[in-house]
Symmetry: C2
């Protein structure tokens, strides 16, 4: 039984036996999210499989992003910098809107998305700051 | 009711002259999001640059995801399938939580993230369905 790793422990909510190894949960393999697509049009199954691949990539990128913002939070706390940085956020929003526009994504959605992420980041940073002043 | 644009046109909202070409907007190049990081610790600048790269990747993946769900929406509307599919969503959430856990991302955040995306997708699907029954 491999020893459990640090941050990877977060949200360890399996609850059941783990005999099937790290790549199955409750009998579901990571590569077969679709379960019962029986009776669905083949084109829909194909599209869902692409969406599932994209979602896996998004989750891994988000994991990397929070690793980076975690480090930013620790740096800011150590140097007494404020958790939020409105000027930086404004630049990020303008840039992401522009990127979204070029990629055919609704810029308004890109902005909402960034705000959603930033809200979580600030929550983390405040937790770090509160901790570091204990 | 003003005719709302179809999803393909989504986000075409420059409004101003486009003389500066597709890779600059308001004089800002895509590669220089950081603007004025002057005086910041070098480590913070480095991390912010990684975050900006990750965000660009996220935006492009989201653009691809909405292209796929757009097709799903059209397929569902054409076949009279309901926009939402709670069983599919449940499977997606379980899978993404598991992937998040393995990647060191808070599974609860991954679930919140998926719900955030799905809410947008359903909004699009409903718009398509409403349109197709005009």
């Amino acid at each position: 039984m491999p020893a459990r790793r640090g941050p990877a422990r977060r949200g360890l909510d399996r609850g059941h036996g783990e005999g099937s190894g790290p790549h199955t949960i409750a009998g579901m393999t990571r590569g077969e999210p679709s379960g019962t697509d029986a009776g669905m049009p083949p084109e829909l199954i194909r599209l869902r499989s692409s969406i599932d691949n994209i979602d896996a990539a998004l989750v891994h990128l988000l994991a990397e992003r929070f690793k980076a913002t975690q480090q930013v939070g620790e740096l800011k706390a150590a140097q007494g910098l404020p958790p939020a940085d409105p000027a930086r956020e404004e630049r990020q929003i303008a840039r992401l809107r522009a990127l979204a526009h070029d990629a055919g994504l609704d810029p308004q959605f890109a902005e909402k998305f960034l705000n959603f992420i930033i809200a979580e980041v600030i929550r983390h940073h405040e937790a770090i700051a509160a901790h570091s002043t204990d």
